[in-house]
């Protein structure tokens, strides 16, 4: 469980990136943190594994204050997948890449081997076990980075802009993967500005603006809240855009899913005809 209480954070350059942020993420939740560039999203999540420590206030992971422990210890519980996989990859083989963190955390050799096999399988990378990560395509490298974090089975997984540069298929696979993780009761936090992706996943959405949380609720409600979105300079998802303009038809505005939209429209259509 992640508990953030009254956190303020100022970068050494003097920029106040977080202004009195409080947030609780329960075990097993799926949260999307959204907001404009500079709103403080990445700054906030970097507090979850201790990369950043609050200037004021506290951040507690499973009851332990992040200032009272090390990044390495926190990372055992909180896995962080960075936006650019090339900022992590350095090994000669995918296998070694995945083993890196496991060795750092002091796992035993047999456990390491087991975990590597498991992680490779999970992300369909088994055939690349002995391949150099630098020879893989962009999408494959992203999966290797993800595998190397999942390998130590952290309870909480943070992903910073996981959909950048991904095509439609890859995003769909990612969405399904997150569903899988949720089934394993893992806590998933993503930082993203991809509204369409969030609309398809429909997680809890936390909206940030200028270092503060301005909205927090179910994806469906937040992503159809014109005011909140306009404030944080976020674009409405396509389906919501359509339904906002259908006000004269008296249909619900609270729609982000395409299949739900279809059903609502067909129902209304059926009613009109009779």
């Amino acid at each position: 469980m992640i508990v953030v209480e009254g956190v303020r954070f100022t970068y050494s350059g003097g920029v106040e990136a977080l202004r009195d942020v409080s947030l609780t993420v329960k075990d097993g939740e799926f949260v999307a943190i959204m907001g404009q560039n500079g709103a403080g999203k990445t700054t906030l999540v970097k507090h979850f594994n201790g990369l950043l420590k609050p200037s004021k206030g506290t951040v507690r992971i499973d009851g332990v204050e992040t200032t009272k422990t090390s990044i390495a210890k926190l990372s055992r519980t909180v896995g962080f997948v960075f936006q650019n996989p090339d900022h992590q990859l350095f090994s000669e083989t995918v296998e070694e890449e995945i083993a890196f963190a496991l060795k750092n955390f002091g796992f035993e050799e047999e456990v390491i081997q087991k975990q590597i096999t498991w992680a490779l399988n999970l992300l369909s990378l088994t055939q690349y076990r002995k391949t150099s990560p630098f020879m893989l395509s962009g999408g494959e490298r992203k999966r290797v980075a993800l595998a190397s974090v999942l390998a130590w089975d952290p309870q909480i997984l943070i992903m910073d802009e996981p959909t950048i540069g991904q095509d439609h298929e890859q995003k769909e696979k990612l969405r399904q993967f997150i569903v899988q993780l949720q089934a394993q009761e893992k806590t998933v936090v993503i930082v993203t500005h991809d509204v369409e992706f969030v609309a398809e996943c429909n997680p809890r959405v936390v909206l940030m603006k200028e270092g503060k949380i301005v909205a927090d609720g179910k994806g469906k409600d937040i992503l159809t809240n014109l005011e909140a979105l306009a404030q944080s300079s976020i674009v409405l998802p396509q389906i919501a855009q359509i339904f906002t303009q259908l006000a004269p038809l008296g249909l619900s505005r609270n729609v982000i899913d395409i299949y739900e939209a279809k059903d609502i429209l067909l129902q209304a259509w059926g009613r009109r005809r009779t």
Binding site: G13, S70, A72, F80, H87, Q88, F90, N104
Partner: protein, 216 residues
Amino acid sequence: MFVAAILFGSILPLTALFLMQFPFVFLARVQRQWLRSLRGALFLAVFIFFTNFIFSFINAGYVIIASNVEFAVFFLTTSPDLLGLALEESHVPYEFSFAFTTAVRFVPVLAEEAQTIMDAQKARGLELEKGNFMKRIRNYIPVLIPLIVSAIRRSLELAEAMESRAWGATKKRTNLYGLTLHKGDFVLLGITMAILVVAFYVLLFVPVPTLTKLFL
């Protein structure tokens, strides 16, 4: 002035030179840009300095060369705009002045990237501070390799962009800006020459105490 910096491998004279830069920077009114580039360079310089510090226990000779380079970089970035323009105007082949200004332009980018890479690896349990000196050096491999790979990839992308904007079209490149030499510049030039002469004299004839000798 940076020629003088290259001549000295130790901290004291370099600090003196560094402080002497201040009046010129203000005169040229580039203090804002100077401070900006300084911030970027500072991190990189600290980073390089730290790794060199570790190496220093292995090979003293290496230190001199290494710290020369690092301080040269440090000074190179203090007034990049003027220096870059001066280089272009002084009939140095364009490739060199371009390489120089591009390197300088990317110092803050590289510094940020180095920080991000360190964060990413720390998040995988890498503890940079742990272990004996050999271990500490090895700890930096997961940081250096992505940095180098990224630098290579970046160079490729830059080369593509340059080619796509007609790099190499003519031998005689023109320039959007012109740098005209004013009287003040000649004065500056004169003072710089004087400093160089003094620096040479000191290097050759005056024993300069090293930092360790001063404090031990």
